[in-house]
């Protein structure tokens, strides 16, 4: 049995606080003459409810490497994502400055020399170029390990940048609508397709901003903290956005899924609830 469990229930002092007792109004004596009967007091009027508590998230400090000035050597760091399906390659210089480009298959990468170069590696399923990063997903069940794949991807990104060829062709840049136009189109998709679809789960998606052709969204209501929010984002939001606006690049979720009014896990003791 976990030690915290034993301790929590062995010691009265550390036991979860019981629900506060509300003193209900006692039966009133029969009203005397000349006094009008008063309506019974509501519980909230009898005793104030305990103060609700909120959870604070302090900034996580990351050890910064000693950065020297710009060097001709291209430095690339890789981080395998939690689902092990994709890996983010962080480059020390822009790959596609201020913009993003999404390629779900080799056939879709005709207007990106860099993406085409990366799709030539066996096992690469999709490529996302965004500012200083390249995110590569591998084919599920391909058996390719990130240890090998990441080195190959890193080497190809480095080679491509050294040659000096742009990551995307000029035609791609010409097709990108203005931020206002993108915002309008995406808002329409959210209002007419996405939000009506997830309303049954009390979920709501909001478009926070559009930068270049990158969309920043937040998931609220029942979506926030929901264990299925990743699926909603990938299968629902991504697909709807890309079907309606093919020029959209990265779609980034800025939701704090562990905070707020409706997180997936929320079981603080009575009197310690997170703020609504």
């Amino acid at each position: 049995m976990p030690t915290w469990f034993t301790k929590a229930f062995k010691s009265a002092e550390t036991r979860p606080k019981p629900r506060p007792q509300v003193d209900l109004p006692k039966a009133q004596p029969a009203p005397v003459a000349e006094s009008r009967p008063q309506p019974p007091l509501l519980p909230s009027e009898v005793k104030s409810t305990p103060k609700s508590r909120r959870v604070i998230y302090a900034p996580v400090l990351v050890e910064e490497e000693e950065q020297s000035s710009w060097t001709p050597e291209i430095r690339i760091k890789a981080r395998v994502e939690k689902d092990h399906r994709s890996c983010v390659f962080m480059v020390d210089r822009p790959v596609l400055q201020g913009l993003s480009a999404w390629y779900p298959s080799a056939a879709s990468a005709k207007d990106s020399p860099l993406a085409e170069y990366l799709f030539a590696i066996p096992g690469v399923a999709s490529v996302l170029l965004h500012d200083f990063t390249v995110t590569v997903a591998r084919e599920p069940g391909s058996g390719t390990s990130w240890e090998d794949l990441s080195k190959e991807v890193g080497a190809r990104i480095r080679n491509h940048l050294l040659v000096g060829v742009p990551a995307v062709a000029p035609e791609f840049l010409e097709k990108i609508p203005s931020e206002d136009e993108l915002r309008q189109k995406l808002s329409r998709v959210i209002d007419l397709e996405i939000n009506p679809g997830i309303a049954a789960h009390s979920g709501v998606i909001s478009l926070e901003r559009v930068v270049g052709n990158t969309a920043y969204i937040k998931m609220g209501g029942g979506c926030q903290g929901c264990a299925a929010s990743t699926s909603t984002l990938r299968e629902g939001v991504h697909r709807a956005f890309r079907d309606a606006v093919p020029e959209i690049g990265a779609i980034l979720d800025e939701t704090d899924h562990s905070a707020g009014a409706n997180p997936f896990y929320r079981s603080l003791p009575v009197g310690m609830e997170a703020d609504a």
Binding site: T3, W4, K7, R53, V55, F89, S150, G154, P269
Partner: protein
């Protein structure tokens, strides 16, 4: 989610300090620390170890019962079952009698050069 055998919070208090010894909440249950050293007084370093031996869906450092508690910096070292220990550092934060600090962070994804 890994099983958290024990964790150690090391923090330095700023100007305002709590009047009672700090406690923590795991999965909604208020628990006292198993081992402590130092003091949660202004400018002093306080170190406390909890041994939950459980799966931390939530892990919070409780705010003071009254007033405010300025924490200049916090580091939390986690000892999870069958894994190497890891440490997370958090920046300055102020807690009051209506707030708790989240201190559960899973092991960060490793970053490597390619």
């Amino acid at each position: 989610m890994p099983k958290l055998e024990s964790f150690t919070v090391r923090l330095r208090t700023g100007q305002r300090a709590p009047s009672a010894p700090p406690t923590y909440v795991i999965n909604g249950f208020l628990v006292e620390f198993d081992k402590t050293s130092g003091a949660a007084k202004p400018g002093e370093v306080y170190e406390a170890t909890g041994e939950p031996g459980s799966f931390p869906h939530s892990l919070l450092l409780c705010g003071p019962k009254e007033g405010a508690w300025d924490i200049d910096e916090v580091s939390v070292t986690y000892h999870c079952h069958g894994e190497d220990a890891y440490t997370i550092r958090l920046g300055a934060v102020t807690l009051d009698d209506a707030s708790d600090l989240n201190i559960w962070y899973e092991r960060p994804a490793p970053v490597f050069d390619v």
